[in-house]
Each structure stands twice: as structure tokens, then as C-alpha cells.
Amino acid sequence: MKETSMKMSLAEQQRRHRSIIVISFLFIGIIVAFLISMNTGVIRMSPLDVLKTLFGFGTTQQHLVLFDFRLPRIIISILIGMGLAVSGAVLQALTRNALADPGIIGINSGAGMVILLFVAFYATPAAAPVYLLPILAWAGGGIAALLVFIISYRKHKGLSSNRLVLNGVAISSGFSAVTILVSLRINPEQYQFVSTWIAGSIWSKDWNYVIALLPFIVILLPFVYYKSQTINVLNLGPPMATGLGAAVAKQQIWLLAAAVGLASSCVAVSGSIGFVGLIAPHLARRLVGQRYQTLLPATALVGGLLVLVADTLARWILQPAEIPTGIVVAVIGAPYFLYLMFRTKG
């Protein structure tokens, strides 16, 4: 008896040790990707130029490119990756469904529909204030999630994960159907705008958006991390969690709200970037295991790294043109997803 418990704690120690190493590697990965990304673009800037510019010795042009074009975009990519990934991890725990991601509770389709309706009825989004589209997208995502939530909620029983997933799928398809219907009636230029947005092009790339996004990430990520023990318990399923003394319904609502807040603020800035919320938690789980205390930081780092790499590739592959980041994420993501499918079956 004593022996087994000692063995377990040894295994536990090894695992923690491993997690710390993995997390440090991910962190270094982000820094490396950050540096490479700063050197990537149409305008050639050597690492030395970048360094000089960072310390204020670059030319005006270099300064403009680095501080106004590249840095905000890099930071937004990392923040979006983190937000979507953590939101996905939380949703996977809440629904106890490995396929859950922010899209599944209707956030992407809700935001997409609101953007489309706005573009269809006010033909010139350019004349609108800069923040209007993100705020609308945020509201659209929130409304969709709220709808799913209200329909899935049962008094006394709390949130049933199956209901959440099924209702989410239903509401998403409903919103997508409306989106397609309306998109048939708008002119090609408007349609192009909407489709670029839906493809997940990080189109808002100045400091204003960094500032708009930052509070959500800075408040909600620590909040979710603070709740990681609760998530561990919830992940065991409502009956078990209740047995262990968790106020299941209340915790579910808080965490769901946090996940929705994270995902819809990210979607609002980036357009709909799929797959990150699905893949990042899976990858992280493979690296550090199921405990949310280590899983959450690892997920956030994987997500940030994934979107940053995807965005760097998006800027690099077809230079000087750019492809929407969401598409690159999907191109990287689809094969991995396939791999997962085959593995799970075997």
C-alpha cells in the first residue's frame, strides 16, 4: 500500500517535471516564432535591422513597418490564439466532448451573421466607426451562445452537455443558413468583404485592436486558470462533481460566460478562425496530460504559437499577397485532425 502511493507520487513528480519542460519549450517556441515573424514580410529587414529599429535607430520606413504593421499583428495573433484555445479547452471540459470548440456554441456563425446583416443593410462598412464591426461581432457571438445556453439549461439539473452540443449545432446551422440566404442578395463587393471576414483574415491589425482585445485576455485567462481545479472536477461529469461538493450549475455558468467572452472577443477582431479552439487543447493534452492546472497554460501557449505561425506563413507563402490566416490554420489543422481520427480508431 505504502509502496504504490510512493510510486504514484514519483510518477506524479515526473509528470510535473515534464510539464514544466514542455511549457518552457512552448514559451521558447513563441519567442522564436515572434522573432522570425518580425523578420517576415515584403520589405526585407535583417534581424540586425529589426534590433536597431526596436531600439529606435531604424529609418522612418523601418519604424513604420515594424511598429505599425508587424508588431500589432503579431501580438493580436498570439492573443487570439490564446483566447480561442483556452475557450476551446474550457468548452471541451464543460461539454465533456472532445470535439467541442467555440464554433460549436454558435459564436462564429452568430458573429458572421451579424456582420453580414450589417454589411447587407449598410452598404459601406468603411464609413462606420472602427470599433463598430468588432462590437457587432461580439454581440452576435454572445447572442448565439446565450440562445444555446438558454435552450440547454434545465432548472435543478444545470447544463446538460449533450443538449449544449446538439443545440449549438442546431443554432449554428440556423445562423449559417440565414447568412447564406442573405449573402445571395448582396452585391459582389460586399460579398467579398464578408467572405474574407468569414475566412478569418486578421484584418484589424493596428494597436487600437490590441488595446480592445487585451482586457478580455488579461482578465479572463487568469480567471479561468483560477478555476482550473473546478474544471478538473467538472470534467468528471455533473453527478460526480456534485458528489465532490461542487456547485455545478453555478460554476458551469461562470466558466461558460468566460469561454464565450474569450471566444467572441477574439472572433470579433480576427474574423472566424476555426480549428484553433479544437486542436490546441488536444495537442496540449497530449503534451502535458489532463490536469487543467498545467493543461490550461500549455493550451494557451500552443494556441498562441499555432496562430502566430499560421499568420507568419499566411504573410510569407504568397508574397506579396496575403492569404487569410484562418485558411492556413485549417490547412495545418485538417491533417492533424485526420491523424487524430485514425489514432483514436486504432
Binding site: V42, I43, V65, N187, E189, I317, L318, P320, A334, P335
Partner: protein, 335 residues
Amino acid sequence: MFGKSRKLIVVLLSVMVLSLVLAACGGNKENNEGSSNTAATESASPSPEATETAAAPTEQKLTDGLGNEVTIPANPQKIIASYLEDYLVALGVKPVAQWSVPNGIQDYLQTDLKDIPTISYDLPFEAVTSFTPDLLILGANSTVEGGKYEQYSKIAPTFVLGDEVNSDWRKALLKIGEVLQKKNQAQKVLDDYEAKAADAKTKLQAAIPDQSVAALWLVANKFYVVSDKLSSGAVLYNDLGLKVPNVVKEISASGTGSWNEISLEKLADLDADHLILINSDKSTGSEALKDPIWQSIPAVKNGHMYEYEAASSWLYYGPVASSQMIDNVLKDIAK
């Protein structure tokens, strides 16, 4: 379960393949001479015949279509006016970079824009910066949405025509003339065009009195017919006073775009005496033209069908494009 996941795999695989194909077919048109040095030498100074600017031009402040106050340099040398090159050519100004999409450029302007490096239609910030422009002229409002105006104006003074001006080439020409301090020249281009159109109109009335003309665009095996008021339709029916076939009237009334799709059935009813065909399917064999319905259209049967390449000016809009369309009509229809 097995069947379901297999289906999913098929779907995912096809998504992947599709996206790869998309990425691949976008990638082949690259222009490697984008470095600012070559670009600078290539941008010749504005045309020498700018006699009107006898008084030395000075910096001017103008309000653009979105209400921004723009300080325009006295004599901009490195202009980017993406998809507005038609006007620049008309005014004898060479831009520092020209509009392009992954599979093409504005071929009909290439006699004047030869050797000018291309820039992607969506004007990525860094690509714009790499040309170190001193003036940006943009057309539609949508080009600067999402706070892009702020970013562009950090690169160079940025003047947005706005949707209203941008959709009417006469207004756009005069506005760009004002921005480039070539007001008189712009007016002259416009006057010359109107004179040319009026002259062509008289000739056409003598050559093919009371006959109707329709313009069809064939792309991806589908036919589109030009609206009776927009794009090249404005040139045919408005400037040249040609008769609008009933089918074209009907489709334009219900459609919204410059080019509206026309079904094969409607095509059979097409009552035009002359047909202008812009063929974007030439490289893929123009299968649609072998269809018996197409063959049975009166204008086709009578040999009154005139085919132009997609590279011709018919799909564009502006003083140069419109003028080239008139040349085509005079040469081929009113011979």
C-alpha cells in the same frame, strides 16, 4: 461509426486539397522586381505636355470622399492609384505600381503601363510601403474599411474617391484631375471623349440605323449580359445611343450588377441584331459556344457576332476603356 468518421475524413481531405489548390493557383503570378529602387527609376515624371501647370504647382489641401482632409504634395512622383490606372493613363501619368489579382492585370492598359511593377489588389501595407509612394489614390470606400485609412495615411497622403464618385468615371476623372492639379487636362480628356462618342453615334446611326446590340460575357460556361445602364452598357446604350434589346432591358430591370447572369432559355429569346461576346473561356475551349441554342441565336446565325478577349477593355470602366470600346464598335460593327 466507421462510416461516419470515414465520411468526415473524406470531407476534411477534400477541404485540404481544395485549399491547397486554391493556394497553388493563386501563386504563379509573381513579380519579383518589387524593390523600391527599380520602382523609383521606372516611374517617369508626369507627361511633358502638362502645359497648364505653367504656374508652379503648390501643395494643396483637399477633402476626400470620406471627409478626410488630405494634404496633397505639389508634384507627386510616386503615385499608387490601384484600379484607377485608367484615369492616370488618360492623364498621361505613370503610377509607381499597378493593380493586379493573382491571375491577371489590366491588360488593355499595358501599352502604357508596360514594365510597371504590380501590387496586389488588396494593397497590403508592407507592399505599399515598399514602393515608398508619395500619394495614394483609392476608389471604393471598402478599400479602407476597418481602420485601414489611418494606416495608409501613415505611409503617404491618402485620397479616397468614395463610392459615389468612384462609380461614375466622368466624376472620378475630374476629381483625379483636381487631385493631380491637371484639371484642364482632365476636362479636355472628357471633352474629347464626348466628341468622339457623338461622332461615333452619328456614324452608327448611318451604318446600322435602328439596330440593337447586346454585350455578353462568357465565363465558366455561363453567360452574363451587361446592364443597360452600367459599365460597358453605359457606353453602348447611353454614349453611342444603340438600341437596347428587350431581353437586356428585362434582365437589367431585375438584376443589380453590371453583368447579370442570363439563362440559356433567355438566350434563345435574345433579339439583338448584333452581339458582342467577351470570351473568358477561350483557354478552356469555349464549350458553351457549341451549344445548339447558342448556334440558333439570330445574330450568331447571321454572322453578326463579334468576339473579344477577356483582356480587352470591355470588362472595365473608365475613359480609356470606354474609348477603346468605341473603337471596337466602329471597327467591327459599323464597317
